[in-house]
Symmetry: D2
Subunit: 370 residues, 4 copies
């Protein structure tokens, strides 16, 4: 059973996320990176190809060349991963789908909701697989949490609090990673809310198994002169009436990547923190509190997402690899969890759009249906 | 220098907070409990007097008898502590002030904002000292945080997140502690927001040194049939434009008394958690993170509020004792921190009232001035 | 039921432990400090009396005067607490017992094992109550741990690791607290091992319910010029064959008061840390891990040692108060836990003596029987 | 620059460590697994080859066939990784070296010290590169700690405490992983001390930069009927006189893989825990405590060993990959950290041998020189 062949769009020199996608894709030897259009600058794309140690002939000058070149080969790419800034997602994905390649795209899905709908139509029309790397849903204990909620361990959900504090954009946004994220032309209409708020939103719906259907948003721009939001508070209602709070910030100095979530039901609660991802706190109905550890006797979802025994920490790259592995198995037609798909991508963009609009217009509570 | 003599109103059999006030008051030997009207039931008041080991003659049948009795003695009480449920605060405090006794009252100040104003007027008219036991401002590291913010260590405050999760009212409210808290006739117009939201509100203003001047409130009643809020989210703006989030809940199963606060400024951040109160996380301007520990070389405010060397945990009772000691010194005319006073009490009630009204009316952002 | 009256020996100006004993004794209103010989300097004893706010006539110039004065009064002290440096323990305790006063003494029992035997004989001869403040056995979760071990929750004990790291004597020993502890004339034959090793030793035997009967000791003096040990490793065997490790140090820079213990049995394990004393980790037979919290539904021993609901941290002073309360109830003839007594005190001194001798002589494993 | 080609010996069906080596080797795309003798059973070796997705022709029936086959190919393996149980290490490594292949071997180096010396001679004679996967020295913050010690941040080391608690062998040793570890014929003369004690020993010497030159050992067999040690305490002296404690256990129920180390010097201390590997606690000379986080502005050694920004947890596989990357760069003749080599492997075996002998003979302190 051969490895699936992956072509990458984006991930050129200086990219943080390109190498992360490469490692995640290849971790389980189900996929290998074979080609890429790593930069819109041909020279830089070539340099990136060398750094990835792929065949230099397959480090293409642009997306069109990549798709054409790979389609022409007998051993061409099986799918395309898109890891470029947000405004590139739509054209890249549409081109890849049009050329017959399944796509695994970074989040947020696109730069705007309109683009997201356009992409969703293209996906439907293509009949091809399409995934979105909501990385944090790849963590074993996130999956354990989801499984426990689904089987009713904590009863009907009453409350969800998801927070995503970061501090790296508390000052001037300098460097390749920062600059595009604060530029509406490249990031889209959401700043912090698009970049990390979408992760938090997906995580809340993913674990709870519930959809948000109403929200109140308070987006702020704290750093003077910035054009997009950098600090976000959104109050939520879920379809079953559960109450929710979503906080995200990129100006909380000293916070690194502090995504965390807690869910409370009629019979218990669950608490998970991304920076210590190998533990899950379970508050039981009887008042007791347990600490679950990755790699120990957990449910099928968590066990299947763990590669080492308990006490051998796995982290972000392994979680990311789980998304890739899910996508690979989906492409092979194997049973198992699918990667997050176009619907989740679209919901994320609808959330950004609804929150930006509601906050800007000073609207109160807003229905949220998609 | 003799100990100040304290009379207690409330704190009868089954009370949790009465013994806590007694311990806190006496911890530093600056105060001693000598008398009380511990219950509105004379027999129960007498029983409580025995349990406190005070002179049986000074366990009075009601507030009036207490005030009259103590005023008549040469060695009568120097001040009155009020620890009964909210709806008793106003009549008890007014009577005590009218009888010439300074008052230290539990929070929230009263059951309603109207009562709070009435009490504030009575305090002003009396010219007597009046304190409110916002206990959590008694913790050494809370005071260290306040001192650091005041001297500009983290620069201008941009963001405050204060959370107060509890889970003990997630089911039916049973038992003496629970019953009055969910009864509007005794608790007042706020449930969770009055009981613990006021603590969170005070803590945010106390450490930041800033006043909230605008809010959006989302109060919910999660447990079916309950008449007051039990789950609270309030978005805040502070007078300097800083953004804030205040969360409080009594239905988050498994949470005990998880008050915590984090503040971020232009040059750093501070994080404190009540359940591990002897540490303060400091995020510095240069990106470094320090852990401060109570009892080590800290500022004057923290050092003065600590009784043991570092590594000897102090807790809730010691924090409470710091409020009492502040009040005692205030009564003696000694220099130092005053206990939280009528203004802080009034602001807390105004916060409850504004949040309850704003949430009920579906109002959007509401100005908050008092 | 009146409060018991306590006289204190030691605890003069600059003492850390004197005020701690005073607070602990009085916390539950079962005891009150009424008299003392706080210093061997009459003037300083008087000053301390003022700081404790006791009747100036009862701040005596020396121990003899105290004992005589209190014996002569109708309302004289009911017992004596000894809180002075180690070399004072024996003469003070013998004098107090001879004068008919029960004694509660700080640890270690005496300066040398010979003194300890002499004191034990005096206690026996007197027929009076005698307690030793092994403070850490007063923590609720330490008592919960002991109860769980005793009822077999973790099966037969196989392994105990107790550690007590401190760093405050890593440099020159300056200040009142430090100086006598490194002086053999005042501290006795053990330095670190006597000061904190005895706490660790008692805790291990207290929770495990097992006696050490064999040891290998490695005591070191790390700070140049010091005359007593400041860093200690002792390997242990318990009477049932269980293996043990006891580490104590006062030169581990940055450590405050990090006493902690972990016990493993055939069916589980228990982990407790003094600096976060309100949690106990329980490793169950089935591989699960629970976190117990003070103030929640625990066993009788822990519940009886807690004054506040879960989530309201109690600490060192409250643990200390539990020892005092136990002693008070013992004096009153009430049922309940007794304070640690002369046997535990004697075992602690035997441990110091055996370890010091074994380490000095380069002996290998040494039997330890007393 | 092509990837280095790796052949694996061991790592057949059911192996935990085989897939770990594969992932670690390939993580940075500097190495690829191309061949293996995965099992001494030809059929099982073939099955493993399929699971690794390598060319079936290169899943050899035994070591001899592997070495011969790979040597004969133009694109044959560049080096051999040995991941089989301990007793296979010597013959496999000798054969590989004799066939001209550099070797990267799992730890402990061999089953006995005599074998270790034999292997060391073979390595010297071959002139080929030889590495040992002391995985934990691959963690970024372990390297930061080493760098800080080396540049004198905490002054001369006075004390090292390294602990390695596990609980998975507290019962009967069942399953492929467990069985050989408790069998002297396969594991060698050390049980727990060889399996994990060697990791702890290496870590202590690696970070401190100091060699142990004296020890006292107390090895125990707790589980009835077991033939090798499963619980270990060793007291240490380092060449500069520093004191040390090394604890390792496989019977501490509930412990997963709790390797941790703390080092104290004249001017500070360092604390690191494998199960939360992305933080390092630094106790400064001035009494302050800092928390360092992987992926933030750290020294060159840590930065070079990190692939993601702060707050994106990296774990065991990434640490392992750092050892492989070091080895790959060594093979390519690039500058940088070398993987732990034959000397460290040999010291580990000498430590096992000395501790086993000292403990068995009831010897006291033993010199330890190699």
């Amino acid at each position: 059973m051969r490895r699936l062949r992956m072509a990458m769009i984006g991930g050129g020199p200086g990219s943080f996320i390109g190498p992360v996608h490469r490692i995640a894709a290849e971790l389980d030897r189900e996929i290998e990176l074979v080609a890429g259009a790593f930069s819109s600058d041909a020279e830089r794309s070539r340099a990136a190809g060398l750094s990835y140690r792929i065949d230099p002939a397959r480090a293409y000058r642009d997306v069109a060349a990549l798709l054409e070149g790979e389609r022409a080969r007998g051993d061409g790419a099986d799918f395309v991963a898109i890891v470029s800034p947000n405004h590139h997602h739509l054209p890249a994905a549409k081109a890849a789908l049009a050329a017959g390649f399944p796509v695994l795209s970074d989040k947020p899905l696109t730069a705007t909701l309109a683009e997201a709908h356009e992409l969703a139509n293209a996906v439907t029309a293509s009949g091809l697989a399409f995934g979105v790397t909501y990385t944090y849903s790849g963590y074993p204990l996130v999956r354990e949490a989801r499984e426990r909620v689904a089987r009713g361990d904590i009863g009907a959900i009453r409350k969800v609090v998801v927070e995503y504090p970061q501090g790296w954009l508390a000052g001037a946004a300098e460097g390749k990673q920062a600059e595009w994220r604060v530029d509406p032309a490249r990031a889209g209409e959401g700043g912090c809310i698009g970049d990390i708020g979408t992760h938090a939103f997906h995580l809340a719906e993913y674990i709870s198994g519930l959809r948000v259907n109403r929200l109140f948003a308070d987006l702020g721009t704290v750093v003077p002169g910035r054009l997009l939001d950098d600090d976000v508070a959104v109050l939520l209602r879920f379809e079953n009436g559960a109450r929710g709070v979503l906080l995200a910030s990129q100006i909380e100095l000293g916070e690194l990547n502090g995504l965390r979530i807690r869910l409370y039901g009629e019979r218990g609660g669950l608490v998970w923190r991304q920076e210590e991802p190998n533990s899950l706190v379970v508050h039981r109905a009887d008042g007791g509190t347990e600490i679950l550890r990755a790699g120990t006797a957990l449910g099928a979802a968590a066990s299947g997402a763990t590669r080492t025994p308990g006490g051998h920490p796995e982290g972000y790259l392994e979680a990311f690899a789980n998304i890739y592995r899910d996508f690979a198995r989906q492409l092979r037609g194997e049973p198992g969890t699918a990667a997050p798909g176009i619907d989740e991508g679209l919901r994320g963009m609808a959330f950004v759009s609804a929150a930006v609009a509601a906050s800007r217009d000073g609207r109160g509570w807003t229905d949220f249906n998609i």
